[in-house]
């Protein structure tokens, strides 16, 4: 393993970690709305959340470019007022990874929220719990396996993210070149078979490890049959 390859791996972990951590609260809020909310336009919100799952990733990347590019409506505002840009930066790779991971995270979280029996929350209310306390002591712990599963699936998806990232923030070593982009780059030139193999093995190990860890955590949570996430 060369120093450059280590850099690629740590960059990938950083991009995916930040993407998942920042997406968690948003994904949870969306999952909650979709699981428990009753409002007009729910089917449209549902479709929009799932869009990155079925849209060609290159289209997602292009849409991000239009919105967050330095001339885009959001990008121009960020640059003008905060002096911040996603362009050609690892933060842009994290944003692309977050968007692509969002549908998987929302799906897993939504299922886990739907699996919590609202009648248990009602029981907690009659025992003196405020809505907020009932949420913290009943809903959240019971939904935890699915929330963890959502986070880990999102992480695995982020590690594998390619199309939207390369379209949005290009393939810059040390900045936006995550594992899949590095493999793609290495495949463009002859003589890189060994490096490609090493990075591919890392990608498989990270993805497999993430899935095994999520299952292990869920089993440890002491919820029996309901604890499985895979």
């Amino acid at each position: 393993m060369t120093a450059a390859e280590w850099e690629i791996i740590t960059l990938s972990l950083k991009v995916s970690g930040v993407a998942v951590l920042l997406t968690m609260p948003i994904a949870f809020a969306l999952a909650w709305l979709l699981a428990r909310g009753r409002f007009p336009g729910k089917i449209i919100l549902d479709a929009l959340v799932h869009l990155p799952l079925v849209l060609p990733p290159v289209v997602t990347g292009w849409l991000l470019l239009i919105a967050f590019g330095n001339n885009g409506p959001v990008g121009r505002w960020l640059a003008q007022w905060l002096g911040f840009t996603f362009m050609f930066s690892w933060t842009g790779a994290a944003l692309a990874a977050a968007i692509m991971a969002l549908p998987l995270m929302v799906r897993a979280m939504r299922l886990s929220i739907e699996a919590v029996d609202p009648r248990l929350e009602a029981a907690a209310r009659t025992l003196g719990a405020s809505p907020w306390r009932s949420f913290l002591t009943i809903t959240l712990p019971l939904a935890r396996p699915g929330l963890l599963a959502g986070a880990v699936l999102g992480f695995a998806r982020s590690i594998g993210e390619f199309g939207a990232t390369i379209t949005f923030v290009s393939n810059i070593p040390g900045e936006t070149q995550t594992i899949p982009l590095a493999i793609y780059g290495a495949l463009q030139l002859p003589g890189n078979e060994a490096a490609v193999t090493r990075l591919a093995i890392i990608a498989v190990a990270l993805s497999l490890g993430a899935l095994i860890i999520s299952e292990w955590l869920a089993r440890r949570s002491g919820l029996g049959k309901g604890g499985h996430v895979l």
Binding site: R125, T126, G128, S130, L223
Partner: protein
């Protein structure tokens, strides 16, 4: 008056209308399934809002549509024993029992964990998970959890329906002791005539209405 309930509520095709006033002891709502008995308990507990009417227990007003008063469930201090127990599956028996006890102000508590354990004979269950309990054990824990939350009155929704004959007798005796020793007003829902006649001092029939 312990229970004063005058309510109307439309639920889908059914119309629930009830007017009752009762003194102490066990007040039984008796009727076939689908008559809205559980909905009445939910309205007294604050889980379901009546369309109109008034609910008071022991002189304390819980709901009154004339003044817009509608106390939240956590402010009503109802000890609700559900048909299916509804123990929290992620908490051991001890933490289920103490859930409401920890939330209620100390001066409103009138039973300690040890007293509840003695009263219900559940000392050997404290470290068990709810899913490992039999129906009778779970129902005793559910009653203990309700008593420990320092309730002013009890709501019991067919607490015997999931039990076999031997367990029914055992839980019936527990309920009689709650009635006679703790002197809590109990609003009791059942479709079983013998059960209702044995327990209740007031029986209120409830029929499905179109």
């Amino acid at each position: 008056m312990s229970f004063e309930i005058h309510i109307e509520r439309r639920l889908g095709e059914a119309n629930i209308a009830l007017s009752l006033a009762s003194d102490g002891g066990v007040t039984a709502l008796f009727g076939p399934s689908g008559a809205g008995k559980s909905s009445v308990l939910n309205m007294v507990a604050g889980l379901l809002r009546p369309d109109k009417g008034r609910i008071a227990v022991d002189g304390v007003l819980l709901f009154d549509d004339a003044t817009g008063l509608n106390l939240a469930p956590e402010q009503r201090r109802a000890g609700y024993v559900f048909q299916d127990g509804r123990l929290f599956p992620h908490k051991r028996v001890r933490d289920n029992l103490l859930y409401g006890w920890r939330l209620v102000s100390p001066e409103s508590r009138w039973m300690t964990l040890d007293q509840a354990i003695d009263f219900l004979g559940i000392a050997h269950l404290l470290d068990r998970w709810p899913r490992s309990l039999s129906g009778g054990e779970a129902q005793r824990v559910a009653i203990g959890r309700a008593l420990l939350s320092g309730p002013r009155f009890l709501l019991m929704d067919e607490p015997l329906s999931s039990l076999d004959a031997a367990r029914r007798e055992e839980i019936l005796r527990v309920i009689e002791r709650v009635r006679d020793e703790l002197k809590l007003p109990i609003l009791y829902v059942s479709h079983d005539q013998a059960e209702v006649e044995r327990l209740a001092s007031t029986i209120v029939p409830l029929h499905p209405k179109a």
